[in-house]
């Protein structure tokens, strides 16, 4: 099944020599340092790697939130650099679902309004928005929390609301930054089943996680290190050359462990 996804479907995301620089002068630092990556439609990708290796930065770029990049990013064969801001906003509204690492609910809106927010920019009526938002909240067992304000929710509930919001407009590409970070295993399971379901229906999912067990849901596992791809189960050429790094690079020993878990999957 994984092989099928890799070979038969068209590429959704193509990155070539992608770089993202932060700071200037002495403080200059590449958070993404030359990534070549092709993601095909319908793939479920798990991205792992030590803290600070650039996972969130990469997701932000993939989600068109960050356009100050070097290298090439093609989304469905269109170079992103050539898209107007308005067009990019349209793509975010209609194709991309974002789950942030910190849940980022709008504090002055209640749960259902937060979940319905992406639908606002699709020009839906309030009634339809709330219907659709209510439906998805029920699948996440948050039906009774519709009119709660964000500060009245537990950490796990907040996260489920954020996920419901990312999925409410049926995005074809889902970018999830540690979606189960704050959840117990039962709640994690609900979320992962939902993502898995979306995957089965043909959506593309890119998920950052620190939990090696969750990679079992993924069709492809990528590990990152210092802004580069370290290993990639979907790539024919095995791991990249990791010698001759900049001195700033953080040394990670967890990397080996991750890899073994991944082979189990």
């Amino acid at each position: 099944m994984k092989a099928m996804a890799n070979n038969k479907t068209e590429p959704v995301i193509v990155l070539s020599d992608l770089r993202k620089r932060f700071g200037i002068g002495d403080a200059e630092h590449y958070a993404i340092d030359g990534i070549d990556l092709t993601i095909r439609k319908g793939e479920f990708i798990a991205i792992m790697g030590p803290s600070g290796c650039g996972k969130t930065t990469l997701l932000n770029i993939l989600g068109l939130l960050d356009s100050k990049i070097e290298g090439e990013y093609e989304l469905e064969t269109r170079p992103v650099a050539s898209l107007s801001f308005r067009r990019q906003a349209r793509i975010r509204s209609q194709q991309i679902g974002f789950i942030f690492q910190s849940f980022n609910l709008v504090t002055r809106l209640n749960v259902i309004e937060n979940v319905a927010l992406p639908l606002v920019y699709k020009g839906m009526t309030r009634l339809n928005r709330e219907k659709q938002a209510s439906a998805i909240l029920h699948t996440f067992h948050l039906g009774e929390r519709e009119y709660y304000m964000p500060y009245q929710l537990s950490g796990g509930q907040t996260q489920r609301v954020a996920i419901a919001r990312a999925l409410v407009n049926n995005p074809s590409i889902i970018l999830a930054d540690e979606p189960t970070g704050n959840l117990d295993s039962a709640s994690s399971h609900i979320i992962m089943e939902e993502l898995s379901d979306l995957h089965k229906r043909g959506n593309t999912i890119i998920m950052v996680t620190h939990n090696p067990r969750l990679t079992t849901y993924a069709s492809r596992v990528i590990t990152m290190l210092d802004g580069k791809i370290d290993t990639d189960t979907g790539s024919p050429k095995r791991k990249n050359d990791t010698t001759a790094k900049k001195p700033l690079g953080k040394v990670s020993k967890k990397r080996r462990k991750t890899k073994t878990k991944q082979e189990v999957a």
């Binding site: 939130l65 308005r86 974002f98 709008v106 002055r108 927010l117 920019y121 009526t125």
Partner: protein, 410 residues
């Protein structure tokens, strides 16, 4: 996209409600500004209306010639204090009066020289009284009615006077004052008539006839060191239909006299009806200044609050952008909020403005008027203020980088 707009409105309402106190305080500036505008416009409308009613009551066939070139905008007229007629040399002469008399369809011409001074009786004095030096035709042209005695007559002695009933009461203690003597600048005048009470302190002649004294033109000239200063020439035509044609001819005639210099103004119909009352002009002047200042302050207040609001909601802006809001959506969201603030202030100001106008009108001989234009101006002004001062904060909000915005801790 219509729904998006509705959403922005719902959103603005929600956001303004959640900061009710702050919103209300912010609206205050615009509210005061719009209240001032509403007061001034409704009162000046009321004043104009009674004057134009008077002109209509006289048959509508009246034109007025005044020295000086036309002050063109209505706003100037509103803001202007009464022209210091008494100090400036008039450009109108007796030659002009005679020229007008010769124009076709003109049925009456009355030059008016208006002085101001103390009028003394034996026991009491009326200071700052309007002294009108004119010709007998004024009675017909301006529709003055006599209660006792008679109007000016060239066949009688030159030092005779017709007085208003209120002036009569003020100096003699009675409206029955025929044959009594009044002294102006040492010259004695015999009262030969008392006018019927008019109760029109606001009128196109700029004087309250009830409190004035009317004397012969030659006597007035003598009181003014022998110089004749005509402040106004009232002209009446035989019918309304001939008024426009007559005005053209009058204009030609006076222009010829003045060697082509347009140093006079001919007013008719609505133009005559501009308020000339002193108190009114003072109120109008102050109110205009208050309106301008408070609108500016109100606008700056809105801008300030919107900037605070944008800063507070930086993270929200980041989230909205990530969820698909375009820059335009963000601009619209904040702009609608600032416009809602100023329109709220505008509506409040409109209501308060009328309350004030009615309060003031209890000291004035007329009522404020209601027209859709005043409502339109109130809404229009607030719309402009809200847009003008809301644009910068809204653009600033839209320019925020989504990543930086999301990173911000709140």
């Amino acid at each position: 996209m219509r729904f998006l707009f509705i959403n922005h409105i719902q959103n603005a309402r929600q956001s303004l409600r959640s900061n009710r106190m702050r919103s209300n305080l912010t609206m205050l500036g615009v509210m005061i500004g719009v209240a001032s505008i509403t007061t001034i416009l409704s009162l000046s409308g009321g004043a104009s209306k009674i004057v134009s009613n008077q002109v209509d009551a006289l048959g509508g066939n009246i034109a007025v010639v005044r020295p000086g070139s036309a002050s063109d905008t209505a706003f100037q007229n509103l803001a202007q204090l009464p022209t210091p007629q008494l100090f400036a040399a008039s450009t109108l002469t007796i030659k002009d009066v005679n020229a007008i008399k010769k124009v076709n369809y003109v049925s009456g011409v009355a030059p008016m020289m208006i002085l101001s001074g103390a009028v003394k009786a034996e026991t009491s004095t009326s200071v700052n009284t309007s002294i009108i030096a004119t010709t007998p035709t004024l009675a017909d042209v301006s529709g003055l009615k006599i209660q006792n005695g008679q109007f000016l007559d060239p066949d009688l002695s030159p030092y005779i006077a017709v007085i208003g009933p209120q002036l009569s009461v003020n100096v003699f203690g009675t409206e029955e004052s025929i044959g009594k003597t009044l002294t102006i600048k040492g010259q004695a005048f015999t009262v030969i008539g008392v006018l019927k009470r008019q109760n029109t302190p606001i009128n196109y002649n700029g004087v309250d006839f009830d409190e004035s004294i009317i004397i012969n033109q030659d006597a007035g000239q003598a009181l003014n060191q022998g110089s004749l200063q005509i402040q106004q020439i009232n002209v009446k035509t035989d019918s309304v239909n001939n008024l426009a044609g007559a005005i053209v001819d009058i204009n030609k005639a006076i222009l010829k006299n003045h060697l082509g210099e347009a140093d006079f103004t001919i007013l008719s119909g609505e133009q005559i009806a501009q308020p000339t009352n002193r108190l009114f002009a003072a109120i109008a002047g102050t109110t205009t200044a208050v309106a301008a200042i408070s609108l500016l302050v109100g606008g700056i207040g809105i801008m300030n609050i919107m900037l605070v609001s944008v800063a507070e909601r930086t993270r929200e802006i980041g989230i909205r952008k990530a969820l698909g809001a375009s820059n335009r959506d963000i601009v619209a969201q904040f702009l609608i909020e600032s416009v809602a603030l100023s329109i709220g202030g505008g509506v409040g100001g409109y209501i308060i403005g009328y309350l004030i106008a009615f309060a003031i009108s209890s000291f004035l001989p007329f009522f404020p008027i209601f027209t859709w234009e005043i409502g339109g101006i109130a809404i229009g002004v607030s719309l402009v203020i809200g847009t003008l001062f809301g644009l910068y904060p809204a653009i600033r909000a839209a320019r925020k980088d989504p990543i930086d915005a999301l990173r911000q801790y709140d």
